[in-house]
Each structure stands twice: as structure tokens, then as C-alpha cells.
């Protein structure tokens, strides 16, 4: 059966708004998160090969670059969590006014950074 649904216009056509930025960033964060989860699965699976093979991964994760990736993944997860909560609230029928979508979009962006700091401090048992 032929699909006559129109394709979405490509993103460079739109005038940028907070809500479109959050929407596109959510898709990108979702893809980053599933790629990160896939790498974490490979990392966990590598534990089967024993402790001696694990040393290379450990050295990498303890490096500056490893920490940077860990913080980046934390932000990406934080952003997706907040954005999904926003979407679920919108699915209940709230927050469709232009002003409200801009405010909630800004809340998602700003709080994703605050959330990242909180999760990092909580995970490292600083709080």
C-alpha cells in the first residue's frame, strides 16, 4: 500500500523557538542515551572476560575524558527525564499555550543542568 503521508519539513525550515529546540534536543538526547546504554551493556558484558581485561576500561573511565563522558551522559539522561515529564503533562492536556510552552521548555533546559549537578553529587555521595 502506498503511503501518502507528507514528510516533515527538515529542521532548517523552521524559525527557532524554545519549544522546537527542546523537541529536537529530546530526540537527540534519546539517541545519545540509547547509544550510551548500548556501550554500557558492552562494558558490563566485558566483565565476563575477567578482571585483567577490565583494567584498560577502568583507566579510561578514571581519566578526565572518562569523567567528561560520565557527566555528559548524566546531563543527557537528566534532560530526557525532564522532557518526558513535560510531554506527559502536555498529554494530560495542560500547558499548550505559547507562553506556557516557552516557560516549560526553559524550565527543562535550566533544570537539566541543575539536575545533573544534583545527580552527580548524590551519586558521589557528597549529599
Amino acid at each position: 500500500m502506498e503511503n501518502n503521508n507528507p514528510l516533515s519539513p527538515h529542521i532548517q525550515i523552521y524559525k527557532w523557538h524554545v519549544s522546537s529546540l527542546v523537541s529536537i534536543a529530546t530526540r537527540i538526547a534519546g539517541i545519545i542515551n540509547i547509544l550510551a546504554t548500548t556501550l554500557i551493556c558492552i562494558w558490563f558484558s566485558s566483565l565476563l572476560f575477567g578482571e585483567s581485561n577490565y583494567e584498560i576500561i577502568k583507566v579510561f573511565l578514571q581519566s578526565f575524558f572518562g569523567k567528561f563522558i560520565a557527566i555528559g551522559i548524566t546531563w543527557s539522561f537528566s534532560f530526557q527525564i525532564l522532557s518526558e515529564i513535560r510531554h506527559l503533562i502536555m498529554d494530560l492536556g495542560y500547558g499548550f499555550e505559547l507562553k506556557t510552552t516557552n516557560i516549560t521548555g526553559m524550565i527543562v533546559i535550566i533544570f537539566s543542568f541543575i539536575f545533573t549537578i544534583l545527580i552527580y553529587l548524590l551519586g558521589r555521595q557528597f549529599i
Partner: protein
């Protein structure tokens, strides 16, 4: 129920379940990412982390497969390419978490 409505409903249910699982996972990830072999093995071989991580994987890949297929729907015009992309995505979303869960359940301290 129309297939698109069913897909939307699955997407929303999996999103609702995934939010607390993502929060649980990311807090734990931050706490153990630079730890030694024994500590990570301990996390993966004890309950409830073993069960929760398996649940996280199932819902994360299920949700991602549905979300990415939306991107395919929006941007791929050729039906054959779209179907092939969706099939590859679904196969990956079923087998990759399944294999990982089997490996995790075979890990021991």
C-alpha cells in the same frame, strides 16, 4: 484501536515506567562508573539492582525503538528503506537487551 493509537499508548506507558528507572540507573551509574571490577560485579550480581537494570534495559530499548521509528516515519520517504530500517531496529531492540540480560544473569562474584 488503530495501530498508530496503540503505538502512541505504548510510547506513553513505556515513558512513564522508564522515568523512575532512568533516574535510578543514572544515580547508580555516577556512583560506580570509575569503581573497580569487584564493585561493579557486586552491583550487577546482587538484587534489586540486577532485576531493576534488566527492567531498565527492556523499557529503554522498547521506548527507543518506538521513538526512533517515529523519526523514520518523519524523514524517510522510501517505503522499502523505511521497512528495512524498522525491522533492523526492532531486531536490535529485542536481541541486544536480551543477550545483555542473559550475560548479567550468568555473572557471578
Amino acid at each position: 484501536m488503530r495501530p498508530v493509537t496503540k503505538k502512541w499508548l505504548f510510547l506513553k506507558i513505556s515513558s512513564f515506567i522508564l522515568i523512575p528507572l532512568m533516574l535510578w540507573f543514572i544515580i547508580n551509574f555516577v556512583s560506580f562508573y570509575d569503581k573497580n571490577y569487584q564493585e561493579i560485579l557486586k552491583f550487577l550480581t546482587t538484587q534489586p539492582s540486577k532485576f531493576l537494570f534488566s527492567l531498565f534495559l527492556i523499557f529503554a530499548y522498547f521506548f527507543s525503538a518506538l521513538s526512533i521509528s517515529e523519526v523514520f516515519e518523519d524523514y524517510i520517504h522510501d517505503e522499502k528503506i523505511k521497512n528495512a530500517a524498522n525491522k533492523t531496529l526492532n531486531i536490535f531492540a529485542i536481541f541486544f537487551p536480551l543477550i545483555t540480560i542473559i550475560i548479567i544473569f550468568n555473572l557471578s562474584l
